[in-house]
Symmetry: C2
Subunit: 206 residues, 2 copies
């Protein structure tokens, strides 16, 4: 996640960004508020000022930020593809993670996944925030699919499938310390996705 998008912003946004960043590595439990302010280079006193709701509020906003970020990425993916295909979009979504894994050696996870694992049972508001983040992510993907002539009825379902698969493969890849799972699912799922586009100007034989 590019730090450029947040470097010049105010302390508040930097803290939200830093929280998301740290949650990616060690989960919510291992992410202390003191760690967040240190990582953001922000004053500690600003915590109770900007986040009177405490850690829960900070985590929820980090999750929301991650959802909007993912949605923005998808929009940029489709905008940057000359000949957009579902498999191409999926490959781009996967590549974002494989790149990081090959660059850093070990990948961080998804902050939304971390919030679900650590807070879904304890904090109803965080669970809702995570659901909203997934929805914010699913929306643009489904819209991109319909723009590629995928029937709207299936677009939503396929978007859910794509995000589920990426999220799970990322889990396996982190465990293995290897991008294998990610590249595998990209290769196996691609054809299925492309098969869902309705033929234009020609009827599928059979």
């Amino acid at each position: 996640m590019a730090a450029d998008e947040v470097s010049g912003r105010g302390p508040r946004e930097r803290m939200v960004f830093s929280a998301a960043q740290l949650m990616r590595r060690g989960g919510v439990g291992a992410t202390g508020m003191r760690d967040v302010v240190a990582h953001a280079g922000a004053p500690r006193g600003s915590l109770q000022h900007y986040f009177p709701g405490g850690k829960e509020q900070l985590v929820n906003e980090a999750v929301g930020w991650a959802g909007r970020y993912a949605a923005g990425r998808v929009a940029r993916f489709v905008a940057g593809m000359a000949e957009p295909t579902p498999s191409g979009l999926f490959a781009a979504m996967v590549r974002q993670w494989t790149d990081e894994l090959e660059a850093v050696g070990a990948a961080s996870g998804c902050p939304v996944a971390a919030a679900v694992v650590d807070c879904a049972d304890a904090s109803e508001s965080t669970r809702t925030a995570a659901a909203a983040a997934f929805a914010a992510w699913t929306g643009p993907v489904a819209r991109a699919l319909t723009d590629m002539n995928v029937p709207p009825a299936r677009a939503e379902a396929l978007a859910t499938l794509m995000i589920s698969t990426v999220e799970g493969a990322l889990l396996m890849a982190r465990a293995e310390g290897d991008a294998r799972a990610l590249t595998t699912v990209a290769r196996e799922l691609g054809p299925l996705l492309d098969g869902a586009v309705a033929a234009v100007g020609a009827v599928d034989r059979g």
Copy 2:
């Protein structure tokens, strides 16, 4: 995860089981050792006796247990299916989670996923244990697929795809508090999986 399989066992196995159970709910960070012994009805003093490696060892063994458990489930699924198909196996894997979600109202997650999210960066041994658990799970699935006439080359890849998808969909389902994501991926991925079985006694046209 059926408690029957562990109720009569010794305190040691009960603690490992309880650790896995609690990790599923709140993640590793929120799972204290005191909680584990309380949940297991085990003496606190046994902790340092059976797990001199501390929490890390306990978590690693819980992850290993979960991997073996998942592998056993798969074996029982295929054994119980009259006409085994890849989509049927996948549906059974998914149903295990939807059942729990509909029964309890809110689903717990996968302990292996929890370990990856919370420990992958901090503890190399736990990361390895999680990778082993995924491997232990992938193996029986791939073997089941080859038994259904899926070419061995693809079986391994499809097993990875199936587990990734289940794991990710479970994440989304927990966030939404609804089985939608799980049922959706089961419906969408089924045909693809069945399409991978090589036709027997007939050659695929084209």
